[in-house]
């Protein structure tokens, strides 16, 4: 039985969140005429080939059929909700809490296979820590969900209370494709085309990885685990090589980083499978897997209902030894999430 570490349900409208929202903030949202955050549509334009479902996510029925087809024991719902664009931190954290209540009522309570990431407003680190604490007893929430594009790199100490709360609760921090903060989505300014933003997301993931390593968060929080979701993974070997190379010469600036960055990354970071970004030739994909050189790192994901050119079976047929295939399909996720 597989564990699908990234699936998407249709995100809630503000009207659907109202019953779960604190009355003050429900009135606030109604008076101000606030609809869903803009970030939801920005990340998955309804008609784009990559979006898969124009609703921005699957219906419960579609998702159930998908899990039946996949023979999935569990699936992790990542509800990317665009809260990073909201400037009223208290409102954003209240909405995050309402999204989590809605996830329980509309999804987790309706299919025992479903698990979810805790939606938080990352820039309100104290509020996020409180939300993590609120969900802590419910084992169906098995990670804390953050967008790849944040206002500041996640190694910035303003995020530390969030990372602390997650690691104290034994929950990995899942950094997911997307994020609509108001910063340009590329490091060189505003792009003109959607493909630039879509492909350029890899740079956001790499920047988050570098920031988390340099900050010493992994040294400071020995239980911190990070999952990159929908990040692709072909870029990881070169990111690790470069970090290792430069760390040897530049470590005096970050003397708290006492190990090769790649060792820490292989021990503490996991990556979901889709989108499978190495080239289509099997031997090339096999090379990337060899360069990643870490049996525990990859987690099976379908990213349903988002559309990708190759499934796990199509891409990996004949290139994985059975042990690694089992590890990717389910064992790694079982160990990471204690399923």
């Amino acid at each position: 039985m597989r564990i699908d570490c990234d699936v998407h349900g249709r995100p809630p409208t503000m009207a659907e969140l109202m019953p779960h929202l604190d009355p003050y903030w429900a009135a606030y949202a109604e008076e101000a005429g606030i609809g869903a955050p803009a970030g939801i549509v920005a990340v998955y334009p309804p008609g784009a080939a990559t979006t898969g479902d124009p609703e921005g996510g699957a219906s419960l029925e579609a998702l159930r059929e998908h899990l039946d087809r996949q023979q999935a024991a569990h699936a992790v719902l990542n509800c990317v909700y665009g809260l990073e664009g909201l400037r009223n931190l208290d409102f954003a954290s209240a909405v995050a809490s309402a999204v989590n209540e809605w996830l329980m009522a509309e999804w987790l309570d309706r299919d025992p296979r479903l698990r979810a990431g805790i939606v938080v407003k990352a820039e309100d680190a104290a509020g996020a820590a409180a939300e993590i604490e609120r969900r802590r007893g419910d084992e169906r929430f098995l990670q804390v969900l953050l967008p790849a594009r944040s206002e500041r790199p996640y190694g910035d100490r303003s995020y530390l209370p969030l990372l602390e709360a997650a690691s104290e609760a034994g929950l990995p921090v899942a950094i997911h494709f997307g994020g609509f903060t108001g910063n340009p989505p590329t490091p060189i300014g505003w792009p003109s085309y959607y493909i630039e933003e879509y492909v350029g997301m890899a740079h956001a993931f790499e920047a988050q990885l570098t920031s988390l390593v340099a900050s010493g968060a992994f040294e400071q929080l020995p239980d911190l685990r990070v999952v990159f979701v929908e990040s692709g993974f072909a870029w990881l070997p070169s990111a690790m090589w470069r970090l290792d190379k430069e760390w040897r010469g530049l470590w005096r600036e970050i003397p708290w980083v006492k190990r090769l960055p790649s060792e820490t990354i292989r021990e503490r970071v996991s990556v979901t499978l889709q989108p499978i970004d190495p080239p289509p030739q099997r031997e090339r994909l096999a090379q990337v897997i060899e360069q990643i050189d870490c049996e525990r790192m990859l987690l099976f994901s379908s990213d349903f209902p988002h559309a990708h050119d190759r499934s796990f079976e199509q891409a990996f047929e004949g290139i994985l030894d059975p042990g690694l295939e089992r590890a990717i399909a389910a064992d790694n996720a079982r160990a990471l999430y204690r399923l």
């Binding site: 100490r157 900050s215 010493g216 968060a217 040294e219 400071q220 190379k245 760390w247 040897r248 010469g249 530049l250 470590w251 005096r252 003397p255 708290w256 006492k258 090769l260």
Partner: protein, 151 residues
């Protein structure tokens, strides 16, 4: 103080005050001789990473840290390769990062008495050609002479 090996005088002590260094060639090996706070050290002038002139690097104190944001300067002195900034312990050539993989050959240095040294063993301009290749060499300061031993 080792009496073994072929003995080369590389400098008078007053030529190498604390903080000074001198590059010499002994038996085809470039060796940097350093005076660090009155103690003498010698390292081969070749970074084991990519062969850079290691002894042209900066001498820096070791930095210690217990947690993010915490810095402390230690007593040990490190030699930082000018190419990639990799650091090597001035005392024994041990690299500080990735210590399992890299070690620069180090040599013992002693101070000896000047009258014990024959002219034929003096190095002029740091250059002595020798037919030998040996694995390790002591260096000393003996009565006013800085002496490197090979073999």
């Amino acid at each position: 103080m080792s009496a073994e090996g072929r003995r080369y005088v590389v400098a008078r002590v007053h030529e190498l005050p604390p903080g000074a260094r001198k590059l010499v060639t002994i038996e085809r090996r470039e060796i940097g001789v350093f005076n660090v706070g009155g103690e003498f050290f010698a390292l081969r002038n070749r970074c084991p990473h990519q062969g850079a002139s290691l002894c042209a690097g900066r001498l820096v104190p070791v930095v210690q840290s217990r947690a993010p944001g915490d810095h402390k300067m230690g007593d040990q002195t490190l030699l930082q390769c000018p190419w990639h900034g990799w650091e090597f312990d001035i005392r024994d050539g041990q690299s500080w990062c990735d210590p399992g993989r890299l070690r620069v050959r180090s040599y013992d240095v002693e101070v000896e008495r000047g009258d014990e040294v024959g002219d034929s063993e003096r190095i002029v301009d740091g250059l002595v050609m020798g037919p030998y290749r040996a694995d390790s060499y002591p260096v000393a300061v003996e009565d006013g002479d800085v002496v490197v031993r090979l073999g």
